[in-house]
Symmetry: C2
DNA sequence: ATGAAAGCGCTAACAT
DNA sequence: ATGTTAGCGCTTTCAT
């Protein structure tokens, strides 16, 4: 087997507890002996066993991160930041993927429970009640969900949505459609609530839509039927699907209709036209979630979102029905 | 604290070792007692401590996965598949990110060593020698690198590159440029070796290039100067950067020059024109690497790659210099 | 400042 | 088939 604390004790002529102390409470050991122990440890290539340490202390120095789908471009920046945050404090990060399955989510939390000091749960599919129950097994931080008594990191989509819709208004749009997401989505609800009272605009809410490109494609009919010249889509994927379908029908973006997405996933930066979108602070969210977890402080942190204007938004065409009611054109 | 094996023993009137056996070697315990123990365990909400188990058995049931950059679109499908493979065998997966830093890579391996049963090392930046040394601390599987005596999963870029170049030839191209990657890249070397002997083609190797969009952009001059009508880029990012720069100069893709990437990252599916590329079997690689690790069998597995023809390749323009020397046009 | 001893939760011989 | 016992590598009182 590997070299243990006992080998180091033998080599440096002290008791194991002294070796233990040199690593976990260096200030409690005489500088001279400390040097001697460290030298012996280095010589033998000793590294404390995190497993054994975990067994005695009850703290594993591991964290868990659970997302719906690792390959969904929304998550990797969050995962990366969470990992970096964990590592900078000498924590290791388990990453797992539920494949959008609430049952897998629950199992994962339970098996993680014994092996981590906390878990970051992103956009959970589990019910609030189930999460409340699981909270007794392991500390949580939830991302993009509000649950009574559970620490949370929220991304302020509402604010971004307001900005987006205002951007459309400034461009001269009057009739704008909001493509809502799947029923029960927290971010979807936020978007609706935030835009409902937008001044000077004629809003229509179209949905629910699947949060995918196909969801966006299927929404094209409704968008056209609504006579909207501006669209705020549930997310970038939906926006991209919509743009695709619109292009297929000869409707120009942004010439005929302007499209705004949400998330700022990397793929949206390469579409033609490049997608205007509400950037979600995913990296900050990952970092913050880990922060919160390690401070063991409850509370909710809300992160700002930013409208990134690229090429998929422009003034509406001069002769649209909605523009006709507007003498300004 | 949580409920332990001892609580279950008490509740079901058997000795702890019997409880232990019902979980780790059920066939060694009487069906009746097993049921009783299981009932008690369930009642109390007992879950074996993986940490304690690891300490006695020496096997943690954890795996580590180390990549250069989690947010690089090349990796998430690999991570996802590795995670799924691990989980299906009741292993948990640590994921870490080296930020392209070999030193971080080494530290990560060392801290993982005590806490995992093996690590998957993707496209390592560490020297072969360093990796060989580290191999004594923990079992490895390396992805996309060939190291004496280390189990490896390789993606056969050479084969894909041959296909790509043949595709260009069939289209009628004669003068093609290969954009090599950073010096020392295994995949880059494979691409060169595989294409060098391509029949009926006039190959130029341009590089080294940074494996990024900027790398592709900077290569535009050389490509044009070489008079190439077809380009095989080191990866999709390079291909995308090149297409961008070409477009900025009024050179049409694929009208004037055809471009082929490598990797099939998700962003390449949304460019205009959509990128023709050599698809790397990243998901299969992740799954296979975990397989190999858990079987503890050395050996090298080579995975096939596939040319995905989309819109960035077409016949060369009729009047290019290279076509002029070819009476066939 | 250091040593001695107990124990974290579990498994694995060995006994019965 | 089940109980007994001795650790796994470390931390943590409690002594000294």
């Amino acid at each position: 087997m590997a070299v243990t604390i006992r080998d180091v004790a033998g080599a440096s002529g002290v008791h194991v507890s002294t070796v233990s102390r040199t690593f976990s409470a260096p200030h409690l050991v005489n500088a001279a002996t400390r040097t001697r122990v460290l030298a012996a440890a280095d010589e033998l290539g000793y590294r404390p066993s995190r497993v054994a340490r975990a067994l005695t202390t009850g703290r594993t120095h591991n964290l868990g991160l659970i997302v719906a789908d690792i390959a969904n471009p929304f998550f990797p920046p969050l995962i990366k930041a969470a990992q970096a945050g964990a590592r900078s404090r000498d924590y290791h990060l388990f990453v797992a993927d539920t494949d959008e399955n609430p049952q897998v989510e629950e199992e994962l939390i339970q098996t993680f429970a014994k092996q981590v000091d906390g878990v970051v749960l992103c956009s959970p599919r589990l019910s609030n009640k189930a999460i409340g129950r699981l909270r007794e097994d392991v500390p949580f931080v939830v991302v993009n969900r509000r649950i009574e008594g559970v620490a949370a990191v929220l991304m302020d989509v509402g604010q971004g949505a307001r900005q987006a819709v205002e951007h459309l208004r400034e461009l001269g749009h009057r009739r704008v459609a909001v493509l809502t997401g799947p029923a029960g989505s927290w971010t979807g609800a936020e978007m609706c609530a935030a835009t409902a009272a937008a001044p000077g605009l004629d809003l229509t809410y179209l949905g629910p839509n699947a949060p995918t490109e196909n969801g966006g494609r299927s929404a094209a009919d409704a968008v056209l039927a609504a006579g909207a010249t501006g669209v705020l889509a549930y997310n970038d994927l939906v926006a991209m699907g919509l743009m695709d379908e619109l292009a297929a029908r000869g409707v120009r973006v942004p010439g005929d209709v302007s499209v705004i997405g949400v998330d700022d996933i990397v793929t949206g930066r390469h579409t033609r036209p490049r997608l205007t979108t509400i950037a979600m602070p995913t990296a900050a969210a990952g970092r913050t979630a880990v922060d919160l977890l390690l401070r063991e402080q409850a509370g909710t942190i809300t992160l700002a979102t930013t409208l990134v204007v690229r090429e998929s938004t422009a003034p509406p065409p001069p002769h649209t029905p909605s523009a006709a009611t507007d003498p300004a054109s």
